[in-house]
């Protein structure tokens, strides 16, 4: 098949994946998640364990070392069948703590320590790099096989160029679908579904090739078995030490690999799916391994001497002239490689941005955490990290020359990430595990692994000199990389695994026993280990009432986005029995907010950001008692008291608020009469004085004209005031006649802007609009709505105190309602005044500038109530911000 056609075919396949991902994202965005979160999709997404290594490499492995390849499948099978309760606990913790990655889980468990996050991130990146290189290599190899296999003898022009294109394309796909949402807990539905599709493709491809080899070439099961018996090249001897080591390391890897953790814990977060996955995933693995040995044996028999067994899955059908089957096999391998790289780079990018970039940025520019747009920076960091991760993989691929057997590279990566396992398991089962212990264990394990496995892999005299190989580090004989402490004769992999696991675990346990955990660490430890106890979200140490809710809201908006943050705060305010957008900053609420933010930027960063607003976390006596878990009785009793106390506090708060409001209303009632009097008497004074002057006569005509005009103006002012008062009283009584019709929002805003331009016309006033969003039709009373818009725009023109006044009008639609926001860039309205601006005559500044009677917003509120909507003040948006909400269709009131 011509190379160009192959590339075209691949592109079509990728476009199809794009479509699948895109449709899934759209479905999820519309809230129709349904089967997107089913156990089946979950299980299929787990198949990301099977990369190009298992797709191509397993056959090569079987051809070289016989049955040993089975261990790679046995490890995960044992974990899923025997250790499902460990996985279940991980998934539950992941959901409760809104964990974003394995580094985040460990950092969060050990007191939200960022040091640990950095260490785990480092291990993951170093271990994953060869693995990503491996995927690039296999895709490049398979391209090369196809290219050289053409009858035209057409050769692949440049293998490195192919690898660059593959890496670049994968980076693009990952960025497009992996970094659209910020909150990792919002989940990448598109990516997960694309991966599930790829899982099916690779299984079907491998089974098809296997069936063809057994029944098409081999002549049926019996004949193939006979050939396997007779085959001489692979040896079938089982080496117990290597088998045990491989099963252990692949079992550890299936938990600790960043991509496995991503699909297993971060993407899903529903432990009920584990019921299906615990048997279906091993079954998938079994199917994947079913035909490996036949393909290897027949391949060795049929293919010419010296051909690469790693490519038998592809070269066998090609050699037999089955181009279509070879194409399917190619797609299978392509799927395995791409799905692995996409998820792995998403997982690694999340770690790098949350544990390296964000903390650095917070430290270098602590101010910008409060003022800058955090979302943009996090997303940018993730995108750059994805590119960096893939670039690292490419560089490694170039360095390693692309010639090494696939299996060797994969095993090194497995052994690397397995170093995280002792700390992970210790962290979720052992309360005594401490941060210092975790750091010690990880550091020791990582160093031993690097020294005994990673660095020697490059061969003598590349990274490590030959002298180190023969005589040990610094000439110390017991520090030889492949014979630590003088133990010789072990397989290098088993040797490295044994020493790294032993020293890692020993360091972790010993240091943990001799150090003491800090307060936050203690509480997180309890929350993790006792995750299945009711109410184990963990006691929190945020002090009551220290945080300013508006500051929290501003920060939350910068991370979660405006809408999400506002609805979160609004919901909490309602739960506390308050109106508006600002709830009290109770410790519960702050802790919940921290967990929500942790879902976006990781536990350590979220903790640091909240601390900047709330101050240091304090640990109360009750918290420590709960942690110590002394007696169930004390806890129960204190919990009861606590509940009662909170209930009382809430009731008292609601009463206080109601009382405050009544008091203010009574003061306003009083002020109302006085205000009416003032507003009527002022124009009356001018009218009376000038009309008396005119009556006396004997004035020059221009003076008469001037005084006549003043009388006229003041009379109009009086009329307007009376109109407003009448309007308000009609609106308040609900006896208003609405003139409902189909109106265009954009036209209404045009009308309102034109009418309001008479207010302070001398000022240069910029209006920012979103015309496409505005062009929609509503069924409502257009004149009344324009009245509200005019009021809000005139207010902005009057009161916006910025040097370059600016008003932004934005329109959004949500669940059958339209929201029109008017946000200016002035200094906004002080918090204590926000509650009264909609009351009658509630004018905040002096009246001469205002010109009106202070009834505008009161009328707006009544108009919107009549239109089935509302007008509210939105705090924390920079300047003064008003939101008009109304339904698309207003039905006529029943008479």
């Amino acid at each position: 098949m011509p190379f160009n056609l192959l590339v075209l075919f691949c592109l079509c396949y990728v476009v199809m994946l794009f479509l699948v991902a895109f449709l899934a994202e759209r479905r999820a965005a519309e809230g129709r998640i349904g089967w997107l979160r089913s156990p089946l999709i979950y299980t299929l997404s787990l198949s990301i364990y099977c990369t190009a290594w298992t797709f191509y490499g397993a056959v090569g492995y079987a051809a070289r070392s016989g049955l040993e390849f089975v261990t790679i499948y046995l490890g995960p099978t044992l974990v899923f069948i025997g250790w499902w309760w460990v996985l279940r606990k991980l998934v539950r913790i992941g959901r409760q703590q809104r964990v974003t990655s394995i580094a985040d889980l460990i950092s969060s468990r050990f007191g939200k320590s960022n040091l640990l996050g950095v260490v785990v991130t480092l291990i993951a990146v170093v271990a994953a790099t060869p693995y990503i290189a491996l995927q690039l290599q296999s895709v490049t190899l398979s391209f090369a096989v196809f290219a050289s296999g053409t009858p035209e003898g057409w050769a692949l022009p440049n293998r490195d160029a192919t690898a660059v294109w593959v890496a670049g394309g994968l980076a693009l796909f990952t960025i497009l679908f992996g970094t659209r949402n910020l909150d990792a807990k919002e989940q990448h539905h598109g990516v997960v579904l694309a991966i599930a599709v790829e899982a099916v493709v690779k299984l079907v491809a491998l089974l098809a090739v296997g069936a063809f080899v057994v029944w098409g070439i081999g002549g049926g099961m019996a004949a193939v078995f006979a050939r396997i018996e007779a085959a001489s090249v692979p040896d079938w001897v089982i080496k117990p030490d290597r088998w045990f080591g491989m099963i252990a390391v692949s079992g550890a890897a299936v938990i600790c690999l960043p991509r496995m953790f991503q699909v297993m814990v971060v993407e899903d977060g529903d432990e009920r799916h584990m019921a299906l996955a615990s048997w279906a995933f091993p079954a998938y693995l079994m199917l994947m391994s079913l035909f490996i040995v036949p393909i290897a044996v027949i391949g060795l028999e049929r293919m010419p001497e010296g051909s690469n067994p790693d490519m038998f899955v592809l070269t066998l059908p090609l050699a037999e002239g089955q181009a279509g089957l070879a194409m399917l096999a190619f797609l299978g391998g392509f799927s395995s490689a791409t799905s692995m790289v996409i998820v792995e780079s998403i997982a690694l990018a999340t770690m790098v941005s949350n544990h390296v970039v964000m903390p650095l940025w917070l430290r270098l520019a602590p101010q910008s955490a409060m003022t800058g747009d955090v979302r943009r920076i996090v997303l940018l960091a993730r995108r750059l990290s994805i590119i960096a991760v893939l670039a690292l993989g490419y560089v490694y691929y170039r360095m390693s020359g692309g010639s090494v057997a696939l299996a060797a590279m994969g095993l090194i990566a497995f052994a690397g990430v397995a170093q995280v396992l002792p700390v992970l398991i210790g962290g979720i089962f052992w309360r005594g595990a401490t941060k210092s212990g975790a750091v010690a264990g990880l550091a020791v394990g990582f160093c031993v692994w690097a020294f005994t496995l990673l660095l020697p892999f490059f061969g003598p005299d590349t990274v490590l000199s030959a002298a180190v190989f023969d005589h040990g580090l610094f000439g110390l004989g017991w520090l030889r990389p492949q014979a630590l402490f003088g133990v010789t004769g072990m397989d290098p992999l088993v040797h490295s695994l044994f020493w790294s696991a032993a020293l890692n675990t020993a360091a972790f346990c010993l240091v943990s026993l001799f150090t003491f955990p800090g307060p936050v660490e203690r509480m997180q430890g309890a929350a993790f280990v006792n995750v299945f106890d009711a109410d184990a979200a963990g006691p929190q140490g945020w002090a009551r009432g220290r945080a300013e809710p508006e500051a929290l809201l501003v920060m939350a908006q910068r991370i979660l986005g405006e809408e999400a943050a506002l609805s979160l705060f609004e919901g909490e305010a309602r739960a506390q029995g308050k109106g508006g957008y600002l709830p009290d900053a109770t410790p519960d609420f702050v802790a919940g907010l921290e967990r929500r933010l942790a879902g976006s930027v990781g536990a350590a960063t979220a903790h640091a950001m909240i601390s900047q607003i709330v101050g240091r976390a304090t640990v109360s006596v009750e918290d420590l008692m709960a942690v110590a878990n002394e007696t169930a009785q004390i806890m129960e009793y204190s919990a009861e008291l606590e509940a009662q106390r909170e209930e009382l506090t809430r009731t008292a708060g609601a009463l206080r608020e109601a009382n405050e409001k009544l008091k203010q209303l009574s003061v306003q009632k009083d002020a109302f009469l006085s205000q009416i009097s003032h507003e009527l008497r002022t124009p009356m004074t001018s009218i009376r004085a000038f009309s008396e002057i005119l009556t006396e006569g004997d004035l020059p005509p221009e003076v008469v004209a001037n005084y006549g005009r003043i009388i006229h103006d003041e009379a109009i002012r009086l009329t307007r005031l009376l109109d407003d008062l009448l309007d308000l009283s009609v609106l308040e009584n609900g006896s208003v006649q609405l003139n409902i019709g189909l109106v265009n929002l954009q036209q209404l805003l045009d009308r309102a802007l034109a009418a309001a331009s008479h207010t302070r016309p001398e000022r240069d006033f910029t209006v920012l609009r979103d015309l496409p969003a505005e062009s929609l039709f509503l069924r409502t009373d257009g004149d009344r709505l324009v009245q509200v818009f005019i009021n809000l725009i005139s207010n902005a023109r009057k009161y916006c105190d910025a040097a370059q006044p600016e008003l932004k009008i934005s329109v959004r639609q949500r669940s059958g309602r339209v929201m029109v926001d008017f946000v200016d860039n002035g200094s906004g309205i002080a918090k204590q005044s926000q509650g009264i601006i909609f009351e009658k005559f509630a004018r905040l500044t002096d009246q001469s500038r205002a010109g009106g009677a202070g009834l505008g917003l009161a009328i707006c509120r009544e108009v919107m109530a009549n239109l089935g909507g509302q007008v509210t003040y939105v705090p924390g948006r920079g300047g003064a911000a008003f939101r008009v909400t109304l339904p698309f269709r207003l039905e006529k009131r029943a008479a």
């Binding site: 003032h678 004074t685 001018s686 008396e692 002096d846 001469s848 500038r849």
Partner: protein, 123 residues
């Protein structure tokens, strides 16, 4: 010729009073608000101060208290105007040392009589 300082934020009312008093032979110095404080009043060297109760920036009552506390102005008569017409305000103004209190709207003759009376008292 009597000099009158008029502090009134409604431009039309200020214009009416200025016209009335000027026709009656007074020299009227009008200020739109009380922001300049006692200094601005003193600069007008007044025989009479006419003061609105509700002023932007500084309230008429505060300004009155400041005038009474100033050695050079303590004896100057002050006529206070208000549109609120509540008894409470009148009491507060009298406590602060107002010479006369007048509710808006007023008859022009009433205003002229009050001004002549207050200026005549003084000198």
């Amino acid at each position: 010729m009597a000099r009158v300082v008029l502090i009134e934020d409604e431009p039309n009312i200020a214009e009416a009073i200025r016209f009335l008093l000027a026709r009656d032979g007074c020299e009227v110095h009008a200020l739109p608000d009380g922001l300049g404080g006692v200094e601005a009043v003193r600069a007008g060297a007044p025989d009479l101060v006419i003061l609105d109760l509700m002023l932007p920036g500084v309230s008429g009552l505060d300004l009155l208290a400041a005038i009474r506390a100033d050695a050079g102005l303590a004896a100057v008569p002050v006529l206070m105007l208000t549109a609120k017409g509540q008894g409470r305000d009148r009491e507060a103004a009298e406590r602060a040392g107002v010479s006369r209190f007048m509710t808006k709207p007023f008859a022009n003759a009433e205003m002229l009589a009050a001004v002549r009376d207050l200026v005549g008292q003084q000198g």
